[in-house]
Amino acid sequence: MLGNNVLGILFAYVHEERVRDLTELRVMASVPYGGRYRLVDFALSNMVNSGLNKVGIITEANYQSLMDHLGSGKAWDLSRKREGLYLLPPFGKSTSRTDGKIESLDSIRRFIKNSMEKYVILSDCDTVCNIDYREALDQHIQTGADITIIYRHGDSPDVERNTIYTLDPSGRVIEMLIHRGSERDVNYGMGMYIVEREKLLDLVESCMSRNEYDLDRDLMRVIREMKVMGYEFTGTAYQITSFSAYFDANMALMEPKIRAELFNPNRPIYTKVRDDMPAKYGLESNVSNSLIADGCVIDGEVENCVLFRGVKIGKGAKVRNCVIMQDSVIGENSRLDYVVADKNVEVEANRTLMGYQTYPVFIAKDSKV
């Protein structure tokens, strides 16, 4: 019941530049993942499973595929009379900044203002995890925090900008640094925040008046004035910080324990339904250690792969260590190793494509090899 007093806001576009290949034609939120999902499914399902019934998704550009995926929000139970899903395309001032979260929030100020919920949970869409926000929210309320930052402890990812937090023993954030590159044994941000709605509005307004546009960075200024607390998320999480991180996050799903945690039946990850038939294995199919979605037709060899819905693997084809997205077709006797094929790719018969573990080959959407 508590969760119903929370408004969810998702930033669909944040960190797109880290996986340019995958986000050329779509926003970060609609990057396909795990055989049948889009990244937004995790962010959205986490919110719904935590009791939120009003979620706004802020988009910037290229959001057609996201709209197509989300539809009315029915698949997440967010197509409802009271509240539900709100897609918030850019309006007002134009901005080309990649991380202008404050500006984005300012442009939806009316949406935030008109909401009735007491709290707001903000999240990016670049992390695959199954998090119960109710615990973090309880902590937020009990500690009387102004802002709660959700972080992970460990080695921070190797990216241009990491937000590193130093906490005092009570869990209060006393220092915040922006760092380049990976660092060992630190508290790094997951791009998830809990804040009271009124306070968020004040914060956005004061930042705008100072020409500050960067939520992660500009929070630095307020940690002295406000009570900023940290909440550690200890579960499994994959931040899609690079193309190889994307590849690894897909491959991690071969581990039963990880699947059990990410796809916890009590907090299921919802996605758009496609009404495919079950996967069909032919007489000469040979599949090992792979994740296969509905609608696949497999007549060849598949090893250590993630196959999305409707993928076809021809006779005699050998596909190893690959991520093959929706409706792609691999021709007879082709050999693929360490390849990420985007949607609707057609690899003709007898082709050979080889990448390497640390550098998988990418084939763009709709291409023909």
Partner: protein
């Protein structure tokens, strides 16, 4: 008054399906799982939607809980529209008393007010136990073209099998002159498929008359259709020649499932232009482990396969342990096949557990006497203890095992 609908479909889903034994003990036949992710009722419902029929009444009576839950608002079939959509129609109490549905015709009779709300020109009567893809709009066009009162879909069966079916004898123009129920010496091989198109104004009168007849058993095949024919109504046979199977028995249910594995069987589940819709489970994709062997099988999402599969159909969330073998079998949602178990020519129902090294069923070629062979069935929620042997044709129920 609702906006007029030209066609209303009435789906008879109340039958017990007693020939399916333990599978329908707590489940209406149309809700029996089929083809890896579907239930039988998905076929007529999807056919309706794909044929452009927007209003469907589902007549339920026997064990309706799961069926009602499954159909829900009708959204998976796009049947949740504002002024039409799918409606569950159980028997109800009236001021004159309450009645179960006495027969197929009585079931429609009791729902005349439902049909009248839409003021339809035609009513399509369907049954909930057939696997087929059919464009009803073509049949309705045929009905209109022949200015018929009733059109019955027929399927041409091999002449030597015709004596097992309700046979329609027709004139060269396709009009019916005789109903021949399971004839010893069949005159035709046109078997009724139990799919009828009626002109509603006609059917409505005959239903009311039939209800007044105390000797009638209120059945379409036995009473209403012969009465219409005797009264000289225009009745036509509409030939259908796609894949069609009645899945009313364990053997036919098993066979029809197996047909889905054969590309030439005639029913393509993968075709985009005539999709079969179903309620989709919220589960991750299936995982096929190292060391498993999966061949010529259909596997649904959420399955974890560590053992071997051949010529089999796995529904969502099935677990096959390392060293287990599933051959020529159907394993329904949530079932578990433990280490070393062997399931062959069998149906393992929902949430059943086949214990370690248990053997379910047998290959017909391994039988001493082929006549004793049949599909073995493990009932829903049934736990087969370690090492147990379940013989071909045997049907195991949950209570039996616990005792």
């Amino acid at each position: 008054m609702l906006p007029k609908q030209e066609v209303v479909a009435m789906l008879l889903a109340g039958g017990r399906g007693s020939r399916l034994g333990v599978l329908t003990k707590n489940l209406a036949k149309p809700a029996v799982p089929f083809g890896g992710k579907y239930r039988i009722i998905d076929f007529p419902l999807s056919n309706c939607v794909n044929s452009g029929i927007e209003t469907v009444g589902v007549l339920t009576q026997y064990q309706p809980l799961e069926l009602n839950e499954y159909i829900g608002s009708g959204q998976p079939w796009d049947l949740d529209s504002m002024n039409a959509g799918v409606h569950i129609l159980p028997p109800y109490e009236q001021s004159s008393g309450s009645d179960w549905y006495k027969g197929t015709a009585n079931a429609i009779y009791q729902n005349i007010p439902f049909i009248d709300r839409y003021n339809p020109d035609y009513v399509v009567v369907l049954s909930g136990d057939h696997i087929y893809k059919m464009d009803y709009s073509k049949m309705i066009a045929f009905h209109k073209e022949h200015n018929a009162s009733c059109t019955i879909a027929v399927y041409e069966v091999p002449m030597e099998e015709a004596s097992r079916f309700g046979i329609l004898n027709t004139n060269p123009d396709g009009s019916i002159y005789e109903f021949d129920e399971k004839p010893k010496v069949p005159k035709s091989n046109k078997a009724s498929m139990g799919i009828y198109v009626f002109t509603w104004s006609k059917l409505r009168d005959y239903l009311i008359a039939d209800e007044k007849d105390p000797n009638s058993s209120n059945d379409f095949g036995k009473n209403v259709l012969p009465t219409m024919l005797n009264a000289g109504e225009r009745m036509f046979a509409y030939r259908f020649d796609g894949y069609w199977k009645d899945v009313g028995t364990i053997d036919s249910l098993w066979e029809s499932n197996m047909d889905m594995l054969h590309p030439k069987a005639g029913l393509d589940l993968s075709s985009e232009d005539w999709k079969i819709y179903s309620r989709n489970p919220v589960v991750p994709p299936q995982y096929i482990a190292k060391g498993s062997k999966v061949q010529n099988s259909l596997v649904a999402e959420g399955c974890n396969v560590y053992g071997d599969l051949e010529f089999s159909i796995l529904f969502q969330g099935v677990y096959v342990a390392p060293g287990a073998e599933v051959l020529d079998s159907i394993v329904m949602p949530g079932a578990v096949i433990e280490e070393g178990a062997k399931v062959q020519y069998a149906i393992v129902a929902e949430n059943a557990v086949v214990g370690k090294n248990a053997v379910i069923g047998m290959r017909p070629e391994d039988m001493e006497n082929r006549d004793d062979w049949g599909v073995a069935v493990v009932g829903p929620d049934c736990k087969i203890p370690e090492g147990t042997v379940v013989a071909p044709k045997e049907m195991v129920e949950a209570e039996e095992v616990q005792a």
